[in-house]
Symmetry: C2
Subunit: 290 residues, 2 copies
């Protein structure tokens, strides 16, 4: 194996990024952007690979954004694995990495936030107050500084994807927001940086998320259209596996995340649970026919 990989251009200050952006604009090159918090895994790789196919230049960012973590959440211990990330980025064909310090994004006196309404309010928005305001604000800042034509997000964070898509529409940002399918381990667990927190026993227990979604999908395909019954089916699998800290199990409109009394178009099932010290989320669009 002698595959050559170009070194990723690391951009740590505002001017270096602005110059990279301006050069691509002058040259008329399209830019694809993958914002991340690092601790990269195969899910991120799929985002970079798709960006590579669709755009002339690909830039990632690694920024563990403090404002999207609650006071009792895992900001301090969130995994930082920059050297491994860099190797992975080179292999995935990433051209540049924006690696800002916190005070580049939030300089002293920073006081502006972006807040998305209804789609950000339930589910993780209710469990994690301020989370989506932090996400929307940092993504708006990153989009403005990176000025990409396309930006790539994993659908594992389904509500986040909808929140960002809504923000981009509402603020008129000139970027196409692309959501790509969740990448899973062979046994079905969704790839997540937080899977590193799982002990072997946790890892075994976490498989209940995938089984819960599969069970709900099965009864949905059999014709069950009562959202509450579908949620119960999934919840029983979780509790049967000993998962007792469930933030939510919810069948919602797949575009607005509004609660449903009747199902008229295929909805999304969303789960959030705690396993060990990890909070895990997953989701699945339920399909009438597979």
């Amino acid at each position: 194996m002698n595959r050559r990989m170009a070194a990723v251009n690391i951009l740590e200050d505002r001017e270096a990024l602005a110059q990279w952006v301006a050069e691509n604009r002058r040259a008329g090159r399209s830019v694809g952007f993958v914002p991340t918090m690092g601790a990269l895994h195969a899910g991120h790789v799929s985002l970079f690979q798709t960006a590579r196919q669709e755009c002339d230049r690909v830039i990632g960012s690694i920024f563990v954004n403090p404002t999207q973590f609650g006071p009792n959440e895992d900001f301090q211990r969130y995994p930082r694995t920059l050297e491994a990330d860099r190797i992975l980025l080179e292999g995935a064909g990433c051209d540049a990495l924006f690696l800002p310090a916190v005070d580049l994004i939030y300089p002293p006196g920073h006081q502006t936030v972006v807040r998305v309404g209804a789609v950000a309010e339930g589910l993780c928005g209710a469990c994690r107050p301020g989370h989506f305001q932090g996400v929307a604000t940092v993504v708006a800042i990153l989009f403005n500084r990176v000025a990409p034509q396309r930006a790539y997000f994993g659908l594992k964070d389904y509500q986040q994807f909808l929140v960002i898509r809504q923000m981009v529409r509402d603020l008129g940002l000139a970027v196409a927001v692309v959501g790509l399918p969740t990448v899973r381990e062979a046994d079905g667990l969704a790839m997540s940086s937080r899977n590193r927190y799982l002990t072997p026993a946790d890892r075994h227990q976490s498989l209940a998320l995938y089984r819960a979604m599969t069970a709900a999908q099965a009864v949905y395909a059999d014709g069950q259209r009562d959202p509450t019954r579908l949620e119960e089916t999934a919840r029983e699998v979780l509790t049967g596996a000993g998962i007792d800290r469930i933030d939510y199990v919810a069948v919602r409109d797949r575009e607005t995340l509004a609660p449903l009394t009747r199902i008229e178009t295929d909805p999304v099932l969303l789960l959030a649970v705690h396993v060990g010290v990890a909070r895990l989320i997953d989701n699945r669009i339920l399909q009438s026919e597979l």
Copy 2:
């Protein structure tokens, strides 16, 4: 007089605007933007003329933004004078006018807001809850759609200028925010679309704003550095003229609008009062030496 004036290119839909923006970008032309609510006057003309001098292309917008008016404010009766505005724009060298309907800016389901913190919280922010959130949000939308290199605002709306400048810094928007001096009538009254609301008696009373600022400036130049005393000087002129509905008379830090206990750099004096049915604001940077 046979001065020829090019017709202003009226852009009423998103696609027409996007095409105008893309053409200028392709051609490498700089764009200057003057967002307005119409009812244009000599203050607006000065913004367009400066934009004309500094940029390759000049675009204005007229949009009476409902979200920056409170429920008991003058949204419904705000002056709409499109034909006169158009003639004035042609004379001022404006190339294009973005004239969106409300649902182009806020389509059904719109749910995202931009909120600026401390600098937007006192003064007009306290008197007009939600006002600056409405301003910041619509200006962010307009900036994203128009994508100007420079945008021009009158310093008559001094707090608005600081709020927009802060938002642009905090969100990393690639636009230079330019504030231009207040244009005044010969007798000192600041130009404002709302001056149309004034009866002749109101118009006479409104001159007290300018006199109040002049009086405060005089004692400041004489060495007075107690913010409360400076405010009292201005307030006495207002009440002496029979103005009894005073929203605020405030001497503040000219960059942050923070209240001052000691004056170390020349501050700004800001006034907001009601005269007849009009709410009038004005301000002046106090100067140690004139």
